[in-house]
């Protein structure tokens, strides 16, 4: 058995670092963007990062029910879709009433 030319390996930590980077970018986007839809994009990025992490755990971690991570991921996607729909509806509704979707201009505590 000769040693192969190329022997790359992928560890759990690698995937988790990628997920963390994605999460950090999402957090930055969500906190810094002026536009409400931009904020929503950041939230979606964070949810994706969480999914990456969940699937990595499901793939690598010792468990009796290893598929639970994937089940969780599907739930996250479902909830994210619902959240996106409602949030975009909110953005449109806010725009209808206030004619802006910039979150730093939406400062009234009533309509």
């Amino acid at each position: 058995m000769t040693t192969p030319l190329l022997a790359l390996t992928l560890h759990l930590e690698d995937v988790l670092v990628v997920g963390a980077a994605l999460f950090a970018i999402g957090l930055y986007v969500a906190l810094s963007k002026r536009n409400a839809i931009g904020v929503l994009m950041g939230v979606e990025l964070m949810l994706n990062a969480v999914n990456v992490t969940l699937l990595a755990f499901s793939r690598f971690i010792e468990s009796e029910q290893p598929l639970d991570g994937q089940v969780f991921a599907v739930f996250v996607i479902t909830v994210a879709a619902a959240e996106a729909a409602v949030a975009l509806a909110l953005a449109v509704a806010i725009y209808k009433h206030r004619e802006t979707v910039n979150i730093d201009e939406i400062d009234l505590l009533r309509w």
Partner: protein, 174 residues
Amino acid sequence: MIADNGIVIAFWLLAATTIGCALMVAAVRELVQAVLFLALTFVGAAGMYIVLSADFVAVVQVLIYAGAVSVLMTFAVMLTPAADRRNSETVFQVPALILAGLVLAIVVFVTLDTDWAISDRGAFSATAASLGEAFLKPYVVPFEVASVLLMVAMIGAIVLTQEDEVPPRRQEGE
């Protein structure tokens, strides 16, 4: 641990694409372009899911995120006026950057510091059927709750965007 060269190379390519596109979401000035990069991020993430042997989740990710959510976002962006389609930052840009960096540092530290219980079970074979089992047997209550949530979200979205007085539309055709 995955020791297959092809898969490892694929993972790092996909990870680079995903993170690069995510950075572009933060960086580009046009909101529409940001949405398009976001869609690309979703596709890249789906690729990573496949590498992590979650093909069902990956396909659902493409279908729902890249297909539906990003389309909804473009719709919402195009409904807002052109002047608001700048992807600009608030005054919280620097604090957000610092906070995000801190979170990244903490998570990476914790990740590298923890002693994970790694299994050597290998990749899953086809997951769709077993996922279906899981949804309808142990997780049936969350599944139903999720469907109720979707229903509520749909109704809520309709109520939120409904116009108060419906203008008469002469040319309905129906």
